[in-house]
């Protein structure tokens, strides 16, 4: 097995490990509403935006990272900018508050070399 194959396996193992590792249960929801339970990394930390005026508005940067191999077959997962179409969404429970929240995927960062994809999320009103 090459180092590249080994790295691929390791990344998948690390992301999926919710028992001894930092993986967390999450759910990927397709535009058609099909829910796929997955395990991966989640991140939700504060972030400052400068809308260009020099004044700062605070928000959060939220993301999940999952193995590409775990993605459901079918339509490509990407941020949806067309408002006439439904969007990919993710839901997961906060590790600190225990509250489940829904998010929209607005941007994706696939990494084919390590076999994982980073989904940048924004808050979603409703379910």
């Amino acid at each position: 097995m090459s180092l590249r194959d080994l790295a691929l396996l390791d990344v998948g193992h690390i992301l999926r490990d919710s028992v001894g590792g930092a993986g967390q249960a999450l759910t990927l929801i397709s535009p058609e509403g099909v829910e796929t339970p997955l395990t991966g990394f989640t991140g939700d930390i504060s972030r400052a935006f400068d809308p260009g005026t020099g004044m700062v508005v605070k928000g959060r940067t939220v993301h999940v990272t999952i193995p590409i191999a775990d993605l459901p077959a079918g339509d490509r997962l990407e941020g949806e900018t067309n408002d006439s179409r439904k969007a990919w969404r993710v839901k997961f429970t906060s590790v600190t508050t225990g509250v489940e929240s829904y998010f929209k995927v607005y941007e994706t960062d696939p990494d084919d070399s390590l076999g994982c994809i980073n989904l940048m999320l924004e808050v979603w009103r409703g379910c």
């Binding site: 400068d50 924004e122 808050v123």
Partner: protein
Amino acid sequence: MPLQSLIDKIDSFEFVRDQIAAVLVTERENQMDLAARAGKDSFFWGLKVYSERDKAYEDWLNVGNDHRQEPIVSTIMKAAVRDPSVSTVPGVKNVYDGTWWIDVYGRGIASDNPAGGHVTSDAMAHTECHRGVRLVRNILAAGPNRFLGAVILDPATGKPVEQPIWAHPNIERWEFFGPEVEGRGGSFSVWGCRLEFAVRFTEFSPEYEPVILEELGVTVRRTEDGVVLMDTTVT
């Protein structure tokens, strides 16, 4: 040479600063009241107004996804430029053209559209910002607010009896802003607009305290035969 009197007044620019915020807040309440009476959702006439602040706004950080948020309005004085053509001796009476930045921020949240598709957060942020700009522009450019609510009227005629020390408030320019490329991501979308609000105002400064050297009193009178005399007293 130290001044003999305490500087214990509010300058015109400080009054203008406070009046801009006061007009926005007062009219916001009025508009929301009018909307409610008209059977409309008064939320859409709401603004969150801040004056002279520069710390980060965390109003939208922890609020729930389902919670509606009014546009944020932030007013800051940017600059004042002296007009030498109408100012007198420098340091005594100066007329300035002041510029206030009135920044409006709109927040957008993605959501489902039951009619089909979904609401995109960036488009919503633009719309919300535009709505805030609409309200601010109409409030500050309205006739009754021409002197920022500070005109002095003759009770008999209803006309101004004094030239106010602040005049010609006008929105001279507005420009929309979006976050830089790396900042476009985030838990919600933000779109901003800066309105440049210009106000001409006059500032007065302490003058030399006069020292009375002597007092000269003069009384002019005409005698019966028409001679003009001046009676003087010197103290």
